[in-house]
């Protein structure tokens, strides 16, 4: 089946700053896909390129089957983009905004009015529809923003950091909305810096770091790539820390000299943990406390981006 989004070697620089250094992606139709990365990784540039707002320097991308450079118009008709900044008119009411988007999508006056009412209802904004958007709370105007993007019934929806800046309750509400959206067969491509968000919403995740995809897969696959379990060690002093880190070598996935903690990858079995402890701490004095836990996406992210930076 044809992919909803296909990206090969996407490259983009602004002046001398290389923001995207060869991004490759493939998103299946009807799925939820998350592009995960910290600020400056290139998430927004990727999304804007796929939404045809930015022209890539090199590489190819097709969205909904159309090339983002050559068939811009057709891509635009099939997608919607919702970003972090206000893309609705604050001086207009919610209803007026949706009606305007409807008209711009080619609906008749009556059709636009009907669609606006339908979307307001669906996004729980029916009462607020008559009020100016400037009076909406953060969660409300993001829902309106999302609704505005859906007026044209797009097949691919781009969400750029949909919950950044929202409080916990609004974030959970937004997650529910996004999950329901995906259920209806639309492809959802979202960018986020929140690992929990990627983990709970997305079927597949791509880790973006330094303008490239450093890892890709389902959340479980990513966690597995960097060993399913972790042995967290808290060491008694700086000398022990130095010694243990030396002995662990490449098995230390993450270490924090300030806190005197080291994390080692392990398969979680008692035999391996015991063997590891005996190896790094024969005198039984260097390790103060230890914990064995399942690896989280946090760990995967840190490990994979650290590895990338170290050139591994």
């Amino acid at each position: 089946m044809e992919a909803a989004i296909e990206v090969v070697g996407l490259t983009k620089s602004y002046g001398r700053v290389a923001v995207l250094a060869g991004v490759d992606l493939r998103v299946a139709r009807g799925s939820v896909y998350a592009l995960l990365g910290s600020n400056g990784a290139g998430k927004t540039t990727t999304v804007r390129t796929l939404a045809t707002l930015v022209r890539p320097d090199e590489g190819r991308a097709t969205v909904a089957g159309f090339d983002v450079v050559r068939d811009r118009r057709r891509v635009r008709r099939a997608i919607s983009l919702t970003g972090q900044h206000a893309t609705v008119d604050e001086s207009l009411t919610g209803e007026e905004n949706l009606r305007m988007m409807g008209r711009l999508s080619g609906l008749s006056r009556k059709g636009a009015r009907r669609r606006a009412a339908e979307l307001l209802e669906r996004f729980d904004l029916a009462e607020a529809g008559k009020r100016r958007v400037g009076t909406y709370s953060g969660g409300m105007w993001r829902r309106l923003d999302l609704a505005a993007g859906l007026v044209g019934a797009p097949s691919v929806i781009f969400l750029d950091e949909p919950t950044t800046g929202l409080d916990v309750r609004s974030r959970k509400a937004m997650w529910e909305v996004i999950t329901r959206l995906a259920g209806s067969g639309t492809t959802v491509f979202l960018t986020t810096q929140y690992l929990e968000e990627a983990d709970s919403l997305a079927g597949r995740i791509a880790l973006l770091d330094g303008g490239r995809v450093v890892a890709e897969g389902t959340a479980d696959e990513l966690k597995a790539r960097v060993a399913a379990w972790r042995l967290d060690l808290v060491l008694s002093d700086a000398r022990s820390f130095a010694e243990v880190t030396r002995l662990l070598g490449a098995r230390a996935v993450h270490s924090d000299p300030a806190r005197l903690t080291v994390e080692a990858a392990t398969d979680g079995s008692a035999a391996q943990v015991r063997a590891l402890l005996d190896e790094v701490d024969p005198g039984r004095s260097a390790v103060e406390r230890f914990t064995v836990r399942g690896a989280t996406l946090d760990d995967a992210f840190l490990a994979l981006t650290d590895r990338e930076r170290a050139g591994g």
Binding site: R48, A51, T52, L53, V54, R73, R76, R77, I79, S80, L81, G83, H85, A86, T87, V88, D89, S91, L92, E96, M100, M101, R103, L104, S105, G106, R132, A148, G149, G152
Partner: protein
């Protein structure tokens, strides 16, 4: 998305936004009215123009109202560009033509309304036009073309300005442009070094055309000069707007 469908929608939007932005709306005609009152009542007695000062000054005030009102388009465009809404329009296929055209059209409508208000106040102050129907039509025509041309230039200024405040600075410059001309005082009363500018700047032929047409006096080649200036503004704006609109994408 056809520009023909998008343009009326964008115009409707720009008009609605103007109506909701009450203080800008009020300023756009209160300001020229205040200036007119200032000149007619405070300064008019001391300025020799050979005629009733009100008769002399009103055409200049009308042109000033037109140009100031049109320049507010720069702020409207700049406000849009500084927010994400333009991205949404672009991703829906709305091009520079419909987007800027909407602002220009709305600005023209707004401007015509304020010109009518200013004219009514002028009438109350004693201004009497001597024109026949042709003269009225001519004066109205020159003003409308002028408004559209300045709106177009303002739209480009709005695209160039980095912030809406900078666009506001542009309106300030436009506000002062009519002064070094024959708008409020005869040019020969100004210092010699100013004559060249005052006689040849774009506001002058427009003011002289409106004055001549409204007061049924010979206008010579001024209307043609006025149209030439406006045509030039429109051409340059049209040429620059497409590229600037695309380049301003964040």
């Amino acid at each position: 998305m056809s520009e023909l469908v998008a343009w009326p929608v964008m115009t409707g939007r720009a008009v609605r936004l103007s109506l909701r932005n009450l203080d800008a709306l009020l300023t756009s005609f209160l300001l020229p009215v205040m200036v007119m009152l200032l000149f007619v009542y405070l300064f008019g007695g001391a300025i020799q123009t050979g005629t009733d000062y009100v008769t002399y000054a009103v055409p200049g005030v009308l042109v000033m109202c037109a140009s100031y009102g049109a320049s507010l388009t720069a702020v409207a465009v700049s406000q849009d560009m500084s927010r994400g809404i333009v991205d949404r329009f672009r991703s829906m296929g709305v091009g520079a033509g419909a987007f800027l055209g909407g602002h220009v059209a709305a600005g023209t409508v707004r401007n015509l309304a304020s010109l009518v208000i200013v004219f009514v106040v002028a009438f109350l102050l004693g201004f009497r036009a001597e024109a026949d129907l042709q003269g009225w039509a001519g004066a109205a025509g020159v003003l409308v073309v002028f408004v559209v041309a300045v709106s177009a230039v303002s739209a480009v200024a709005g695209l160039l300005a980095r912030t809406p405040e900078a666009a506001g600075g542009f309106t300030f410059v436009v506000l002062f442009l009519p002064y070094p001309s024959s708008a409020f005082v005869p040019v020969h009363t100004m210092p010699r070094w100013l004559h060249g500018f005052a006689e040849n700047q774009p506001a002058t032929p427009i003011i002289e055309s409106v004055r001549g047409l409204l007061l049924d006096r010979p206008v010579g080649s001024d209307p043609w000069k006025a149209l030439a200036w406006c045509g030039g503004f429109l051409l340059v704006s049209a040429a620059l707007s497409g590229r600037l609109f695309r380049d301003r994408a964040r």
